[in-house]
């Protein structure tokens, strides 16, 4: 073990997949497992203490996005919140119309919920994006119909990091009296969010992307929004989401949210510097590469390149062998035939999309990590290109 550490670095560059729980966050969770484990719905002291923990986290999170506390509903994570938003709005508003607008680069939690709704009689328009992953506002306007009840466009794309013009979309939605949901899993904690300024009616966030625990997320639902429950049962979350409250995780989510909010500026500055350094070095030291996503409207920690003539899984395995954890939109990493739907939507040819690599930088990433990774990457790409018949 020691030997390993000396010989090899451990460089985690997959912060967009999941983040470690920060120490302060973990410490904020510890009391709620073996000691203060009460059920917040009970009236005795154990329960009242538990309730106040849940209330406090709700207050913190509402504060970070300029919402009121009774607009925050805790659930099990980003995927559940996306499912809830899409299905809950669709069912509750089906009498008004059965048309939904989304984009081709949404997370699967949104896309597959849309596909499910298509089997239940809804129609879905999947907007194209440009080569940088941007939705076109005119396309959006043109897609709106009399029976459109919901627009769901993600704030920041998880693969290529492109940031959408959410406030403009919110305005269009409002002008047309259509509910607007945004999956903000990849922007929350990285971009200052104000639900009023953005004009969103529903917003998905997830704890384990902001140094909080896994298994908890939240759906922001603007007051007055007509939406069905998704998980039926007990009266938790003001009867909107059943299931015993996940006390410790909610406490951790609250702590993570408050840290993220307080340190947002320095977090961004630091990440952007590392990100740009990495992008510049890869671009200048390796030939036949292509930066995926938008050059400026970009997640502060997202680096995503295609390396021509090589395939993503091989790249990941060789990086892993050097202690570097990254991810790829390669088909081979997903077990499907096609490279990721996001890369395809950007219009990349198959053979190039197969060679994508996503490196996502976070709060524990150092400049040495970036240097080390670029250094190793240069050699690995060279090695794989030597083996490649395309080169």
């Amino acid at each position: 073990m020691m030997g390993d550490d000396v010989l090899k670095r451990n460089v985690y560059l997959d912060y967009s997949a999941t983040t470690p729980v920060k120490k302060e966050v973990f410490e904020a969770m510890v009391p709620y497992y073996t000691e203060n484990f009460g059920n917040p719905s009970s009236i005795y002291r154990y329960g009242r203490e538990a309730k106040s923990v849940v209330d406090k986290s709700r207050e913190i999170i509402a504060g970070t996005i300029n919402a009121s506390t009774n607009e925050i509903y805790f659930c099990a994570g980003g995927s559940e919140a996306d499912n809830w938003a899409l299905k809950g709005i669709a069912e509750a508003n089906a009498n008004k119309g059965k048309h939904i607008i989304t984009s081709k680069i949404e997370h699967h939690a949104v896309l597959h919920s849309c596909e499910y709704l298509e089997t239940r009689g809804f129609e879905v328009t999947y907007l194209d994006v440009d080569e940088y992953g941007m939705v076109d506002l005119n396309d959006l306007k043109n897609a709106i119909r009399k029976d459109t009840i919901l627009i769901s466009i993600m704030y920041v794309n998880n693969e290529v990091g492109t940031v959408q013009p959410i406030a403009e979309i919110g305005k269009i939605a409002k002008e047309n009296g259509i509910y607007f949901h945004t999956d903000a899993v990849q922007s929350y904690g990285h971009i200052k969010i104000d639900v009023e300024k953005l004009g969103v009616d529903l917003m998905t966030i997830s704890s384990h992307k902001i140094y909080g625990p896994k298994g908890v997320g939240a759906l922001y639902i603007r007051k007055g929004t007509k939406i069905n429950q998704f998980i039926h049962g007990g009266a938790q979350e003001r009867s909107m989401r059943a299931g015993t409250e996940n006390l410790a995780a909610i406490a951790g989510f609250g702590k993570a949210a408050s840290i993220a909010d307080e340190t947002l500026d320095e977090h961004r500055t630091r990440l952007i510097a590392l990100r740009d350094k990495m992008i510049n070095e890869i671009s200048s030291r390796i030939g036949h590469v292509k930066l995926n996503g938008h050059p400026t409207e970009r997640h502060p920690g997202n680096v995503n390149f295609c390396f021509e003539f090589i395939e993503g899984e091989s790249l990941l395995l060789l990086l892993d062998n050097q202690g570097i954890a990254a991810s790829s939109g390669s088909a081979c990493t997903s077990g499907s035939l096609d490279p990721s739907h996001v890369l395809m939507a950007l219009g990349l040819p198959h053979e190039i999309a197969h060679g994508s690599l996503r490196l996502t930088i976070g709060d524990f990433t150092t400049e040495e990590d970036v240097d080390y990774t670029v250094e190793k990457l240069v050699g690995i790409v060279e090695k794989l290109r030597e083996i490649s018949p395309l080169h």
Partner: protein
Amino acid sequence: MYSEKVMDHFMNPRNVGEIENADGVGEVGNPQCGDIMKIFLKIENDIIVDAKFKTFGCGSAIASSSMATELIKGKSIDEVVSLTNRAVVEALDGLPPKKVHCSVLAEDAIKVALMDYAKKNNLNIKGLENFKVREHEH
């Protein structure tokens, strides 16, 4: 995910490269589906005296190419014709189910190279009369 054998052949692939004036060359797969395998054979007196490959693909595609070329070196054409992808998988101590197609690619690439050799030399190779490259799916 991968066996140690697969990782070894992926990290340190044997027989990478091209053979100039190869007696048989076989290429299968296409960039669209993410795998291309190209195999070069040097054949003397019905014996595979050398084999090399170039592969664009995932870890198991590279390992399968490496192992397949190892397996056929020094073997007779007859022996090679009866080599199936199973033999490659076994020699690698197994592949994940989704990756077995990589071994099929290797088998096919070798057979295409043998067909190329047969064609160039106007030969018929027993056992390859009905050979057709399989549509491979991930």
